[in-house]
Each structure stands twice: as C-alpha cells, then as structure tokens.
C-alpha cells in the first residue's frame, strides 16, 4: 500500500507543479492546495500505514500507528488553510485592483535605460 501511496503523492505533486506553472492566478492557488494534500499524504505514508491501532491509549493494546506524523499533519493542515485563505483574498484583491489574473501581465516593467 505504501508504494501505491508514494506514487499517488508523486502524481499529485506533478499535477500541482503543472498548475503552479500556469499563468492564471486561480489555477496557481488550486495547485498549491493540491501540493498540500500530496505532502500530507506523503508525511503519513512515511511513518508507515496501518501497523497498529488508532492512537488512543488503551491498556490492552500493545501496538498503535505512529502518532507523530499525525500531529505534524494536523499542524500542517491548519497552516496551509490559513495560507490558502489569505492567498485567495489576495487574488481577489489583486484582480479587483489590477484587472487581470494573468501572471505574465503582473511582472515588473523594465527600467528605462
């Protein structure tokens, strides 16, 4: 299962990179969201999958799945949510201000010589 999950994460990363390289701001934001999912899955997978019980302590259970990656991912989810929300509002504002969401239009103008 782990191999499948790693390959899936790789595909998700490829898709997100493809989206991030596009010129539309909305597609870039979607790309970063997918990248978050891919990384979270990868984090979880690297700890090993389904090797024990749910990490709720019980005297009779000797083996649990690794709780550390879960804690890390929980933090990551919240942070990425904050960033995505901010990014989205930024896109909204810049579209209102600049009248475009084409990234190639947003680059700096070269200085006059």
């Amino acid at each position: 299962m782990e191999v499948i999950m790693i390959i899936l994460s790789g595909i998700l990363i490829a898709a997100s990179v493809y989206l991030i390289l596009s010129r539309s701001l909305l597609r870039i934001i979607i790309g970063t969201s997918i990248l978050t999912h891919a990384v979270n899955l990868l984090l979880l997978t690297m700890g090993g999958l389904k090797e024990g019980a749910i990490p709720i302590y019980d005297k009779h259970i000797a083996r649990y799945v690794d709780p550390i990656p879960q804690a890390l991912i929980l933090t990551a989810i919240v942070i990425s949510f904050a960033v995505t929300a901010f990014f989205l509002v930024l896109a909204f504002r810049s579209y209102k201000e600049l009248g475009t969401d084409n990234m190639s239009m947003m680059k700096g103008v070269p200085d006059d010589k």
Partner: protein
C-alpha cells in the same frame, strides 16, 4: 611609534586637520599649512636612516605596518616629499581661493601618505592597502572639478583600470604568501629559488605584472593617463608624472630579484616597456593639447624605465654579470631625472594655461618674447626630455642606449634584439621630435591668437618650476653627486652589492653616442618636414584605438548585464519557478547518478480494494482539475480530492486528521465559493502547445524525483522512532489518552501555539486586505474603461 610611522602618518593627520583649519580660518591659504607636512615628513625620513620598523595592526591575519627604508624607498620618499612640497607651493598660487581648497589639500595629503606607505611597506597586505588608497585619492583628485563631464569620465576610467590592477596585485601578493608562508617582501625575495619551483610562480608573476602595467600606464593599459589630464595641473604634475605612475615601476623593481629568475619576466617587462615607449612617443607627436603631449610623453618615459628594468633583470638571471647592473643604475637615474624635468614641464604648461587661458597648441605661438622666464624653464625641461646635453636627460638616455646595446650578450639576440633596438631607437627619435616640436610651436612664430593680454607669470608661481629645472641643470653638470643614491638604490633592487658607478658626459665614441647624434640629425630634419609626413597619423582608423575597445567593453558589459537582468530578474514568476524546479530536478538527478539506486527493504501493508478505488478517484479528480474549463468545476474537483484525502485518513487510523481535514475542506470550499463571484473567470492563457509541454515536462520531472526519493527514504530507517516514548508515557505523564492531542498540546505545545498565531495573522491579513485601502487609489478597472 617610530620615525617611519610618524612620517607616514603625518600626511593623514594633515588631511584630517586642514579642512578644519580652513573652515575656521579663511584668511590664510590652507596650502601653507599643507606645505608643512611634506617638509616635516622629508626631515623625519632623512633622520630615520636605513631601518626596518614594525607596528602590529592585525597580526592574526598578517596585516602589520612593517616599514622598511632602503635605497629605492629613500629615492621614492624624497621624490614624494620634495616634489610634494614644490607642488603644494605651486598650487597655492595656481588655484584660486574660490575653489574648494580644503578638499583639494585633503585629497592631496591623503595621496601623499598613501604613496609613502606604498614605497615603505614591507608587508604585502599593507602594501596593497596603500596601493588602493593611491587609486582612490587619485580618483578624487582627477574629479576635483566634478561639475565637468570630462573630469568625471577621466576619473572613472582611471579608477576602473587602476583598481582592476589593484585587485590583480592582491591576487599576486596572496599567491606569493601562499607559496612563501610569509607576509614580508624581503623574506620572499630571500627564498626566490624555492618560490621559482612552485607551480603557482607563473600565476603570481602574471598578476604582479598586470598590477604594475595598469598603474604605470603601460601598453595597452595606458589609455587612462591622457584622460586623467582633466585634473588640475598641480595634480598632473605630482601624481601623473612624478609619483603615482612610478608605483608600477617601483613594484617591478621591488620584485625583480624574485621574478627575474624567469626569462618570461624579462621578455615581458622589456618588450611591453619598449612597445609603450614607441607607441606613446608616436602618439605624443600628434597631440594638439599641451597636457596631452606631456601625458603621452610620460607614458613613453615610463616605458623606457620598464625596458631598463627588464634588461637589468638579466643581472639576476645570469647571477652576477655587472654589465647588466648598469641598466638598473640607468633606470634609477632616469626615475630621478624624469621626475625633475616632467614635474617642471607640467608646471610650465600650467603657467601657460593660466596666463593665456588655453592649452591648445594651434592657438599658442610666439610666447618667447612674452614669457621669457617660462621659456627658460620650458627649454631646459624639454631639452632634457629630448636627451640633449648638458642636461640630465642626456646622461640617462646615453646610459639607456648603452644598456640596450649591451643586452645583446644576454637573452636578446637575433630578431628579438633587432626588434628591441629598433623600437627603442625609433622611440627615442620620436621623443626628440615631440620635445623640440613642443618648444618650436609654443615659443616661436607669430603672436598667440588668444583674447587675454599675455604677460609673464608672477615669480611665486614660477618658483617651483625654476627650482626643478635648477636641479635638472645641476645634476646634468655634476651627475656624480647622485651616485651614492643610485648605488644604494641599485643594491636594494638587486639585493646584492653593485660595483660603484661613475657617470661622465664624455665616454668615448661608442654606439650609443653615434645613435644619439643620428637621432639629433634625423629628428631635426623630421621636425622641419612635419607637414609632409603628418598624414601618417590619419592612416589609423578611428575604430582601431584602445579607447574604442575600452568604450566598447564598457558598453558591452552594461548591455549584457542589462539584458540578463531583464531576462532573468524581471521575467515574471513563472520563469523563476521554472528555474527553481529545474534546479531541483537537475540536482537530484545528479545526486542519484552518483550512487546506484538502492530502495532498501519495504515493510508493506496489505492493499484493500476500497483504498484502490479511492486512489483511482483522486487520480480522476486531479485529471479533471487540470483539464477543467470552468472554475466551478475545478473548485468542486479540488474539494473531491480533499475529501478523498480525508477518507484516506479514516482508513489509515487517523481520526483527528480525518475530522480536521473534512472540516477544513468544507470551509475552504465554502471560501472558494464565497469568493466565486468576485474571482476571475478561469482563463486558459497557456493554450499554446510548447508552453504546456514545458510545464508538463517539468511537472513530471518534479513528481518523478520526489517519488524516487520518497521510495528510497521509505526503505531505509537508520534509527528507531521516538514514538515509543510518547506511547509509553502518554497516560502516566500527560494524563491523556488521545496521543495526537497530547502531542499537540502537551509534548509539543509550542507548535500549536505558533500554528494558532499563523491562523491569527492570516485573519488579520485578510481583514487588512479587504478593509484598508489607500484613499487616493485609482480604480484601474474604471480608468481602463
């Protein structure tokens, strides 16, 4: 604090104090205070005797003020201080009180101190430090009239070329330090034989040569010196004839016992010197600007000194053949002579400029009756420069030619000897032509075509040049008064005792004398037929000059960096991302190629069918996001991915994650949909095939390298996990049963604290973005319409 250190620090002290004195006391010309400095420094230097004195500065990196006085240093110190005093005196009467005099004397004294430091330093790092300080103060002095465009250009050019040379010097000196393991020049010279065995010897040699050639305006780096003539004339007289431009000559002389063991050094120094001598004297003849003539003449005389040092290096190469030591003696003698007559000539030119208001040779003529005293000074200086007896220039020119003829018993024979002799003889001929032609054009013929009423300059302005030509005549008539100094300087250069030397005017009929007589005859004929052969100068195409090359190089550097900047820096975020991703791919692939792929051993869990279904679902949703044409569809597909990931968390025994993921995904989707109305339509700007293909290749590359790395990492576990500790103590230490929650708020609570902070900051940021606006903002959408 020793006498030497006191002498070197005096000018720096003066540079600090003189603007202050000038600020509080406007009645006395600040030059009189500045005059005290070189006089006091000269006295101190003469009192010190031949010594080595050291003051620790930064011993850990080897930078100490180790000063050492020997023959060659003494000669240069006297030139710097005595000519410095004369130049300061001259400048008192030359510069009007409306100029920024405080600045002028600060720069000049800064230069004087730096130059003393250069010629006294035995420590290579302090030598480099003072060397760069001469470049900087020279830059400031050339640009003294900074409102003139040409001054700024000249200053910039000299700065670029000499600082390039300065950096080469640093490279060369540090290379020597790394071979010899000492910072002292004297100790390096003592291990010359060992140094020569090192593979870095040639590198150090090239660096040092570049440093000396740029500073001393040797071919083809001579182009900065004519442009530096935009400086005030006292500066030209001091820096660009007598002192700074000889720093390169000093450097070559100083390193001769070290490098002259190699034949390349001798060939390069001799021939670059000879080419410079020829080329600059050729160009000097056609100059229409008085200072232009003197600038090219200075370059050519510096070439002459280099040639002599090259031939004198044969004495080191053949170890103890006194016939070649004569070249070193001639060089030292000529350094002295050139400083005396060229300083005087610059001051004379400054006086003519001052009294007539022009330096243009076309407008000036017939000044003999109008300015007889100036004429006297000029004729002595120019005839000495031309090598006419009985002045000192004749003596050093004779010694020069004798040394050149003697070089046939050394490395030079066959074609190289013929080339060398023809270069120096034609160069000497041209020197005679421009010197005498300068006198003829300036002082003879009809009255000058200038507006001013021309009359003789005040005596105080004339005093400095008159004193200098007195030296020219005196050392011309009694040259042997200088022999002790020449001997000790020669010893310092060659690092061994040189046979005592006797200079005499008449030394029998020899090749040198015959050549000189031929030069006089041919030169006189050529001067009077100048109009017939002048067209030779229009043969050279305007594009074939080194100035043109320099300007092209500068323009090319500017346009290349401008275009590079435009291509890379301002090219937009996509090209930056392409660079970053490509670098990631390339670096990973290169690393992976270093070692065979090793995936280790995987502990795999079993695959369940509904997990596979979920995988397929995610793949389909991802594909849909990429190909989606409407924004609503792509947002929904994105949510599908998010929910599927949440389901994975359920399957993989992570209830807290699943809960959070599902909640957050819902909120995100809601947020997307809330903004939906305001968000732009999903535009597909990248519909061209090459664009998509590039993106796809990069994307697949990044995905592949991440997959490979992850697979490799999964198979290797080098140390046991710390999880066991948390599992063991979650209940007895933290009194909780939910391990994830206990880790978040108890074991690793700080993460959670700052994660909450991030959330808060994002909230404030969003609020700011929406609420706060610049009141004067222009609505772009409206202005467009």
């Amino acid at each position: 604090m020793s006498l030497l250190h006191l002498a070197v620090s005096l000018p720096f002290l003066g540079a600090l104090l003189i603007p202050l004195i000038h600020y509080y006391n406007k009645r006395i010309h600040p030059g009189y205070f500045a005059l005290l400095v070189p006089v006091a420094a000269a006295v101190l230097l003469l009192m010190s005797g031949q010594v080595s004195q050291s003051v620790k500065w930064m011993p850990r990196i080897g930078l100490n003020l180790d000063f050492r006085m020997d023959g060659i240093s003494l000669l240069f110190c006297l030139l710097i201080t005595v000519i410095g005093a004369l130049v300061v005196f001259y400048s008192i009467h030359y510069l009007s009180s409306r100029e920024q005099l405080g600045h002028f004397y600060t720069y000049l004294l800064l230069f004087m101190g730096a130059m003393l430091g250069v010629v006294l330093s035995d420590n290579v790092l302090s030598l480099y430090l003072f060397w760069e300080l001469t470049s900087i103060s020279s830059f400031l002095l050339i640009a003294f009239w900074h409102h003139k465009e040409k001054s700024l250009q000249g200053a910039l050019k000299s700065m670029l070329i000499t600082v390039f040379g300065g950096l080469m010097l640093l490279g060369g000196l540090l290379t020597l330090v790394s071979i010899a393991h000492t910072f002292s020049i004297r100790e390096m010279v003592m291990q010359a034989d060992v140094l020569q065995q090192s593979p870095l010897f040639t590198t150090a040699m090239v660096f040092i040569l570049l440093a000396a050639f740029t500073k001393s305006a040797q071919f083809p780096f001579h182009i900065w010196l004519p442009d530096a003539m935009e400086a005030p004339t006292p500066v030209s007289a001091y820096l660009h004839s007598a002192t700074m431009v000889k720093a390169g000559v000093y450097l070559i002389a100083r390193f001769t016992p070290l490098f002259a063991l190699s034949a390349q050094w001798i060939y390069i120094v001799t021939f670059i010197g000879a080419i410079t001598l020829f080329w600059a004297s050729f160009n000097a003849v056609k100059q229409q600007d008085l200072k232009g003539v003197l600038a090219y003449s200075t370059i050519s005389q510096l070439g002459l000194m280099m040639t002599l040092l090259g031939v004198g290096g044969l004495g080191v190469y053949y170890n103890n053949q006194p016939v070649f030591y004569a070249a070193i003696a001639a060089c030292v003698f000529h350094i002295f002579n050139h400083a005396s007559f060229k300083g005087a000539l610059f001051m004379v030119v400054g006086i003519i400029d001052h009294e007539t208001g022009t330096r243009d040779l076309k407008k000036l003529s017939g000044l003999l009756q109008l300015m007889p005293v100036t004429f006297t000074a000029a004729i002595i200086g120019a005839l000495s420069m031309a090598g006419v007896p009985p002045f000192n220039g004749f003596l050093s020119k004779e010694m020069f030619l004798t040394s050149m003829f003697d070089s046939k018993s050394g490395l030079f024979h066959g074609p190289s000897l013929v080339l060398l002799l023809s270069l120096v003889i034609i160069g000497s001929l041209l020197t005679f032509i421009y010197s005498v032609k300068l006198l003829k054009d300036l002082f003879f013929g009809g009255p000058p075509s200038v507006d001013k009423h021309v009359h003789e300059a005040p005596l105080l302005l004339l005093l400095s040049p008159l004193l200098m030509v007195t030296v020219v005549v005196f050392t011309g008539l009694f040259p042997n008064i200088l022999t002790p100094m020449i001997d000790s300087a020669g010893q310092a250069i060659l690092n061994k005792h040189v046979a005592p030397l006797h200079i005499s005017h008449w030394h029998g009929v020899n090749p040198a004398l015959v050549t000189t007589l031929l030069i006089f005859a041919a030169g006189t004929v050529l001067i009077f037929t100048y109009q017939q052969w002048a067209p030779i100068y229009s043969v050279q195409r305007p594009n074939w000059t080194f100035n043109y090359v320099y300007e092209k190089l500068l323009a090319a550097a500017e346009s290349i960096s401008y275009r590079l900047n435009n291509k890379v820096i301002t090219a937009g975020i996509r090209s930056h991302l392409l660079l970053v991703f490509s670098a990631l791919i390339v670096m990973t692939v290169v690393l992976l190629l270093q070692a065979p792929l090793n995936f280790g051993s995987w502990h795999l869990s079993e695959v369940r069918s509904f997990e596979l279904i979920l995988v397929v679902l995610i793949l389909i949703a991802t594909f849909m996001v990429i190909v989606a044409k409407s924004r609503l569809f792509s947002i929904i597909m994105l949510s599908a991915i998010g929910y599927a990931v949440g389901l994975f968390f359920v399957f993989f025994n992570a209830p807290d994650l699943a809960l959070t993921q599902l909640t957050i995904e819902t909120i995100s989707t809601a947020l997307f949909l809330m903004c939906f109305y305001h968000l732009p339509k999903l535009s597909r700007y990248e519909e061209t095939m090459p664009f998509k293909l590039t993106n796809a290749v990069i994307a697949v590359g990044v995905g592949a390298v991440v997959t490979v790395i992850a697979l490799m990492a999964y198979g290797h576990r080098f140390s046991p996990s710390i999880t066991e500790y948390y599992i063991k103590h979650v209940y007895d230490l933290a009194h909780g049963k939910n391990m994830v929650n206990v880790i978040l708020v108890d074991f690793r609570g700080f993460d959670t604290l700052f994660e909450s902070t991030v959330l808060g900051i994002a909230g404030i940021g969003i609020y700011t973005l929406i609420k706060l606006r610049d009141s004067k903002e222009v609505n772009h959408e409206q202005t467009k319409k």
